[in-house]
């Protein structure tokens, strides 16, 4: 694996330090501070705090949300001089179009079209359209580690040959949610972030974007993404593990991934947000890994603030810039050593030859990521760990629909009954520990219930070590509650509880905490393909592991937000939500049904239905290998999906049983996760039940079930016996 060097063929960056790699380098060389008082939106008197805002940025062009525009700036620079479209895009973001949504909600706008750029996935989809990418377009949202996690996923895509060129990085814009949210957590330093300083009081919320064009082709200057490692604290929703357990695990995993020893790291770009707890925990982890004399290190968040999902990607660009230009960036804002920390950062920028740089990014939910950038020759020639090649197989499953938990839902679905609906809170929360869920609204309850049911009665050694969750819309109840209270109190009294719960990866973090899962913890958000993206992420992250991974897709219905964000083109589908979870594990020689994402491409249009047949290997393969197809035709893109399905059927000649499963599960972004659980049951039973096969059971005769996702983009998941 690590014998395929992944080079940085292009990069683009925009932050409070300026626009473009050249400008960023100059700012770092000059030890500049880019923080300034908030002006983007109104804060109550006395609450105008320093932020890392991108300046010189057209404020009038409101057609596209700020996050999308920041991403475009970084992408344009990364792809300048590149004549071919990237094969895939992986983008980390936590804000999506929320800044625009906040204003729309304040103005009581009820036109769903105005909210069309709200979803996290719309940022990467916009880039795909702009630069003609028709391959997989993944969106990850793991709070402040999103950008670094995106780089890890891109790295694995390139290593396994799924793509040759991937555009990857992170983006977030300033918005009320993060500004007031972090303020409610008392994590903002009123004087501006002073990472590692004894007097540090917190971070400065910021914005920015960075995208890297990663390539499997050798590049002249040879600066590579050498490796990356992920971990989860499984400790607390917002606070890091006090001893830096998760940080240590991520750094250790990244070194192993790159085939490097701690002694080979020339510079550490710290997460270093400036919050007392983060810096202390990270410092402890650094001491544990590097001993008393770590390599030169610094945080650049005193200079640019904390651009959240963009941070990991911006810092990867900075790492490459530092290597190319022999620069150690200074720790802006640092003045007084903190004896408890025992770490002395590089105070002023200075020249030094650098070969290998480690960069840390840690986030809410205890989501940690470390990336290592360096010259390929810096990597020790170690044998790559062996790859476990068996596909992921199903060890456990659970689902929720309006008809109830797992067995009740599944039985009804297989009997062809419509299960669309929203479980009441009491039924939804059955068997969940009351104290644990006291602050949970709808989505985390669903998540924990699915996880506990999918992992029920497992021996400790078979418990999952990684989590990959897909959600189209995230925790809508928490997001709405936070924004509503913020508006009602005119910015005075935002709820810390709702802010913590509003991040897309909060449910995955809760699962990790409650089940003690300390490996990679990923949340994807890809519209109606969110579950498929979670499956892909799980597959990419477990290539060298025989441990189990929990993969789930779930979405909640919210009476105010859902009709605005996901309006149905079909009249009045019933309110519905739910999800599905699968416990998966690579088990060579096992006999459980196996699940694999076979094809995924972005873009809409009927033609993509025929393309899908080609991606699956042609009409003969579809005809010979698949005994039934479960088709997802989202109500919000029903006409497109119907045309895609017609094109697929024509191109493949498929004439077996077809189930339009959303008519049974109801309409929600991750309905396909429930359909996957249905598919597994059919494969286990060896037949499509009578009610779904047109009156009489239809034997699969050893053939697989195909799960198709249509609409905005097309995806195909195969479910088969070994």
């Amino acid at each position: 694996m690590s014998d395929v060097p992944v080079t940085i063929a292009g990069m683009g960056v925009v932050s409070a330090l300026g626009t473009g790699a050249e400008r960023t380098l100059a700012a770092l060389r000059g030890g500049e501070c880019g923080l300034s008082g908030l002006t983007l939106f109104v804060a109550p008197a006395g609450q105008v705090l320093p932020v890392g805002a991108v300046r010189g940025f057209d404020m009038q062009d409101q057609a596209l949300p700020r996050t999308h525009r920041l991403a475009r700036i970084a992408a344009a620079e990364a792809l300048a001089g590149s004549d071919a479209a990237p094969d895939a895009i992986v983008l980390g973001t936590t804000t999506g179009g929320i800044l625009t949504t906040e204003s729309l909600l304040q103005n009581h706008c009820t036109d769903p079209r105005a909210y069309r750029h709200h979803g996290l996935a719309t940022v990467a989809e916009d880039l795909a359209r702009q630069w003609g990418c028709t391959g997989p377009v993944l969106t990850v949202s793991t709070a402040c580690s999103s950008g670094a996690v995106a780089l890890k996923l891109a790295l694995e895509m390139l290593r396994c040959g799924m793509a040759r060129r991937v555009l990857a990085g992170g983006v977030d814009s300033l918005c009320r949610l993060t500004y007031f949210g972090f303020k409610s957590l008392q994590l903002i330093d009123p004087a501006g972030a002073r990472p590692l300083d004894r007097e540090r009081r917190g971070m400065s919320v910021a914005e920015g974007a960075a995208l890297l064009l990663l390539s499997a082709d050798a590049a002249a200057d040879g600066v590579c993404l050498l490796g990356a490692g992920l971990s989860c604290d499984a400790h607390h929703a917002t606070a890091p593990h006090p001893e830096g357990e998760g940080a240590l695990a991520a750094m250790t995993a990244a070194l192993a991934d790159a085939g490097l020893t701690p002694a080979q790291i020339d510079y550490i770009n710290l997460h270093g947000t400036g919050t007392p707890d983060n810096d202390l925990a990270e410092g402890r982890a650094v001491h544990r890994l590097f001993g008393r004399q770590p390599p030169p290190l610094s945080s650049i968040k005193g200079a640019m603030g904390h651009p959240l999902a963009a941070a990991g990607a911006i810092e990867a660009v900075v790492a490459a810039l530092c290597i190319r230009n022999g620069l150690l960036p200074g720790n802006v804002g640092y003045g007084t050593p903190d004896p408890e920390l025992g770490i002395s950062p590089v105070t002023a920028p200075r020249s030094a030859p650098l070969k290998t740089v480690m960069s840390n990014s840690f986030g809410f939910g205890g989501n940690n990521a470390t990336v290592i950038v360096g010259r390929a020759a810096g990597a020790a020639a170690v044998a790559a760990p062996s790859v476990v090649t068996a596909p992921l197989s199903v060890q456990g499953a659970a689902c929720i629909t309006g008809a109830g938990h797992g067995p009740a839902s599944l039985e009804a679905l297989l009997a062809g009954k419509e299960c669309a609906g929203c479980l009441d809170e009491q039924t939804l929360s059955e068997a969940l520990p009351p104290r644990v869920i006291r602050r949970f609204k709808r989505l985390p309850r669903m998540a924990l219930s699915l996880a506990m049911n999918a992992c029920r009665d497992l021996a400790p050694e078979r418990m999952p070590t990684a989590v990959s969750i897909g959600t189209a819309w995230g925790a809508l109840s928490e997001t709405h509650a936070f924004l509503q209270r913020l508006a009602e109190t005119r910015g005075q009294y935002p709820s810390p509880t709702d802010f913590v719960g509003s991040v897309h990866n909060a449910p995955a973090g809760q699962i990790a905490m409650q089940l003690g899962i300390k490996g990679a913890n990923v949340t994807t958000s890809g519209g109606d393909h969110s579950f498929e993206q979670a499956l892909l992420a799980a597959d990419l992250l477990t290539r060298r592991s025989a441990d189990a991974v929990l993969v789930a897709g779930l979405d909640e219905h919210h009476p105010q937000l859902s009709p605005l964000l996901a309006p149905a083109a079909r009249p009045d589908p019933p309110a519905a939500d739910g999800g599905g979870a699968l416990l998966l594990r690579r088990e060579p020689g096992g006999n459980a049904p196996m699940l694999q994402l076979l094809a995924y491409r972005s873009g809409d249009g009927a033609g993509t239905g025929a393309d899908l047949v080609g991606l699956l290997g042609g009409a003969d393969v579809v005809h010979n290998n698949y005994g039934a197809i479960l088709v997802g035709m989202p109500a919000r893109a029903y006409a497109v999906a119907e045309a895609q399905w017609a094109a697929f059927r024509q191109a493949s000649g498929f004439d077996g049983p077809m189930v339009d499963y959303r008519r049974l599960t109801g309409e929600f972004g991750t309905a396909s996760a429930v359909a996957a659980v249905m598919g597994v049951a059919m494969v286990r039973a060896g037949a499509v039940p009578a009610a779904l096969a047109g009156g009489a059971p239809c034997a699969l005769a050893g053939k697989a079930v195909l799960l198709l996702g249509l609409g905005d983009g097309v995806s195909a998941v195969g479910i088969r016996l070994p």
Binding site: Q186, P434, R439
Partner: protein
Amino acid sequence: MEHLIEELKVKIVDILNLPDVTPADIQTDAQLVGGELGIDSIDVLEMVIMIEKDYGVAINNKELGAKVFATLGTLAAYIQEHASELPN
């Protein structure tokens, strides 16, 4: 003061949604955070907002918070001392 303490008990149970705690369970001089009640750091922040909103008293950093939220008694005393309009 007694009235304030009783009022705070009701508010705390209400905003923190503690499933098996009643106002009577909160002892004036017992450890408030990290003890048997199950009140944690996020609850503290939620109480900070409530106290600022309902009593106009700001507790805006962690060190101060640790002292003020030691017990319900210390919390009530702090509010009593700093509120401009005392709620009797």
